[in-house]
Amino acid sequence: MKEKLRAPKAQQPLIVEKPTLEDGIGSKVTVEINEKKVQVLFGQTILEACKENQIHVPTLCHHPDLCIAGNCRICVVEVEGMRTLQTACSFPITAPIKIKTSSPMVRKARRHIIDLLLSEHYGECYSCVRNNNCELQTLAKEYGVDSYTFGHVQEPVYEVDLSSYSVVRDMNKCVNCRRCVRTCIDLQEVGVLEAIGRGDKTHIGTFLEKPLADVICINCGQCINRCPTGALRANDPSDVIWNAIDDPTKHVVIQTAPSPRAAIGEVFGLEPGKSFTGELNTALRRIGFDVVFDTNFTADLTIIEEGTELILRLYKALVKKEQVALPQFTSCSPGWVKYLEHFYPEYIDNLSSAKSPQQMFGALIKTFYAQKKGIDPKDIVSVALMPCAAKKFECNRPEMVDSGYKDVDFGLTTRELGQMIQEAGIYLPEMPKSNFDDPFGEASGAGLIFGATGGVMEAALRSVIELVTGKKVEDVFANADITPVRGFEGIKYAEIPITEVGPVPKLLQHLVPDWNWLKGATLKIAVAHGTANAKKIMDDIKAGGKFSECHFIEFMACPGGCLGGGGQPIPTDEEIRKMRAKAIYDEDNSLPVRKSHENRHVAEIYDVFLTDGPCGHISHKLLHTHYIKRGKYIA
C-alpha cells in the first residue's frame, strides 16, 4: 500500500525496492543491532528490522497506514560511521551496518526531542480526551520525563476550532507530526490539512486558515484516528446525552451500528477481533438508555430500498430505454456522500437516494415507533452509536428532518460510548448478554456485514440473487459467503451473470411485471474503500473506462469500511482492521437469518407501515433524501 501512495519526489530516494526473492543472492544483509548479528532483508528500514528482532524503537510521526515522513526524529538510532544520528523509520538497510538503538547519545537525543515537543504542547493530560491513549504521553513516560527542560506552554496560542459537527481541532496540542496531513492528502485524497508557515511558526492549517466547517472536509475523521495526541478529536455529545438520560420526561433511544460492537472491546484494553453485541446491549440499558435498537434492521431496509431503486433504474435503462444515471452509487457512508458532493457534483444523480441506515432508523423511530408506543416524538431523544465521525455531520444535515423533528439527535462514536460505559462504572466484557428491543428486534447477518468493506455489496447480492433468480444464494456461493467482494484490496470488481430468472416476489410485483429482461444479463459491480480509491474509480468513470459500465458500486469513505471508521478506538491499522472484519464475519456466520429480505421485521414494516412498498410514497418521504451540489471552490 505504501508504494502506491503519492510520495513527494523528495521522499522517493528513501524507498528502496525490496528483492522479489527472499532467499535470492544478495537479498539478505547481515547487520549488527546492539552488538547482536542479525540477517535482514535488503531495503528494509532499520525500524522494520528492529521490530522483527523484538527491539523497541519509539516512533511518533510514523504510522503503518501512511508514507514515511521522518520528521519527528524520535526514532533516531546510532549508525556506526555516520556523523549524525539517523531516523530508523526512513533509513533503508543496504549495507552491513552496525546500529545502536540505546546508546547514551541516542537516549539523550530522544529525551531532548521529547522535551522540545513538550515545550510547545499546551494542555494538561487529565483534561484531555486522549489521556492514557496518547503517544506523546507514552513517550514521556517511557523516557522518564520529570521536568520540562525547555519549558512548557502556559497559555493556549491557538483558538480551538469547534466549527465542524464532527472534528474538533485544538492546535495547541499539535506536535506537527503531519500524520493528519498525510492522512488527508495521501490516504483520503481530500486535501484539507497542510503545514502552513515556516520554521517555528509552522502549524497545521486549512486552506486560507478557514474554520473546518467552511472547507471541503468530508468529516471522515481518519485524521482523528491517526493523531498521536489530542489535537484532533471528535465533537463529543456525551454530556448532553447524559442530561437526556437523567431527564425522566425524555425517552432516550439508542441504535447501534455493526462496527462499534466489533471494536469496543479495544476501549477496555482487550485484543481486537471479538464482538460484544449482547454485552453492549446490557451495558447500554444499565447506563440508562430506555431502548436499544439494532441499526442492522435499517441496514436490511436499506438493502430493500436501494436494491429496488437499482432494479427500477435498470428497468428504465434496459426496458423503457430511458436516460438514467448508472452506475448507481451507495449512499450509506456520509463521508463518501460529502466527498462526491464536493469533488464530483456532476455525478450526484448516480447516488442512491436511499438514506443511510442511521437516518432511516431516525425517521422510523420518531414516526412508526412513536406511534406504536404512543410516545410524543418530541420527547424522544434518538442517539446513534456509530464508528464514524461523519455521522455526526449527517444527523445535523438540515434536510434530515422528515419525521417532523430532527431524525437523529446525536451521533456517538465508539470511543465516546466506551468512555460513557467506564463512567457508569461498568466493565463491558463481564456484562451478561441481552437482546435488542422490539419492534425491530434482531436483524440479519446481511445488515451486520455493512461494517466491512464489500459488506453492502455482499448483502445486496445475497438478496438480489435470491429475489431475481429464485435460487438459494448458497447454491451459487458456498455458505452464502460472496468472497469476490470481501477482502482489503482497494478496489474490487466482479461480474455476476444472471442465467436464469424466477418469479417476481410479492414485494416488487407492483414495480416490474417479470424478470425476463434480466435474463442473460451480467451484473457488473465494484467496491471501493477509502476516498483515494473512490477517486480512482470516479476518474475512470469520467474517462469512460471499465467502471463506467458497472451497474452498482459500493463506496466507503474510510479504509476498511466502517470498521476502520474515524470514531473507532485508537489505534487503527491494517492488522486491527482485519481482526475487526473477522469479528464481524464470524458473527454473521453464527446468525440464523443472513439475508435482508428474510428479516421478518422488514416484511412486517412493509405490511403495516410502509404500505405502498419499497420506493413507494411513504418510503420516499421517510427513507429517501436528496443531495447538494457543493463543489470544491471556496469563495
Binding site: V190, G191, V192, L193, R198, T206, F207, K632, I634
Partner: protein, 157 residues
C-alpha cells in the same frame, strides 16, 4: 471577483501551466509568474493552480505561506525588503528602520495608505559585507544610511 475577471485569470494561469508543465514540480514557477504579474496570488488563483496541477488548494496555500516572496494577500505596488540578519543589524540597520518608518508613517509589515510601498524585513540576502542592505522589488541597494534609504524610497512611484 467578477466572472469575466475569473475567466481571464484562469486563462492566464492555464498559459503558465502550459509553459512550465502540468506537474507538481512546476508549482513554484507558476506561482512566481502570477506573483510577478499581480503582486499577490488570490484565493481563486490558488484554487485554479491546484485544479490545473491536480493537487489540493491547501498544498498551494502551504507553499505560498512557506515562501516570503509569495503573497496570498494584496501588497503595495512596490515591496521594500530590508535585511534583518546579524551583519546588517550590526551595521546600524535600526537607524535605517527608524528613518524609513518616520518618512513613510508606517511600520514594517504594513503598506502605505496610497498602496505605494509595503515594508518587510527579510533574512540574509548575501550582502553581508555591504550592509545594511535592502531589496526594492528586484533591485538590491547596499551600504545604506538613513538619508540614502529615504531618497531611494522617495524615488519609487
Amino acid at each position: 471577483m467578477l466572472v469575466v475577471e475569473k475567466n481571464a485569470l484562469s486563462e492566464e494561469i492555464e498559459g503558465y501551466v502550459n509553459k512550465y508543465g502540468k506537474d507538481r514540480s512546476s508549482l513554484l514557477p507558476v506561482l512566481q509568474a502570477i506573483q510577478r504579474k499581480h503582486s499577490y496570488i488570490n484565493d481563486f488563483a490558488q484554487q485554479e493552480v491546484a485544479r490545473l496541477l491536480d493537487i489540493h488548494p491547501v498544498e498551494v496555500f502551504s507553499v505560498i505561506s512557506f515562501y516570503s516572496f509569495l503573497h496570498s494577500k494584496p501588497t503595495g505596488r512596490n515591496i521594500v525588503r530590508l535585511c534583518q540578519t546579524i551583519s546588517c543589524d550590526m551595521a546600524n540597520k535600526s537607524k535605517v528602520v527608524q528613518a524609513i518608518e518616520r518618512e513613510l508613517g508606517i511600520k514594517f509589515g504594513e503598506t502605505t495608505k496610497d498602496n505605494r510601498i509595503t515594508l518587510e524585513f527579510t533574512n540574509c540576502i548575501g550582502m553581508c559585507d555591504q550592509g545594511p542592505a535592502m531589496i526594492v522589488n528586484d533591485r538590491v541597494y547596499t551600504k545604506l544610511d538613513p538619508e540614502k534609504a529615504v531618497n531611494i524610497l522617495n524615488e519609487i512611484k
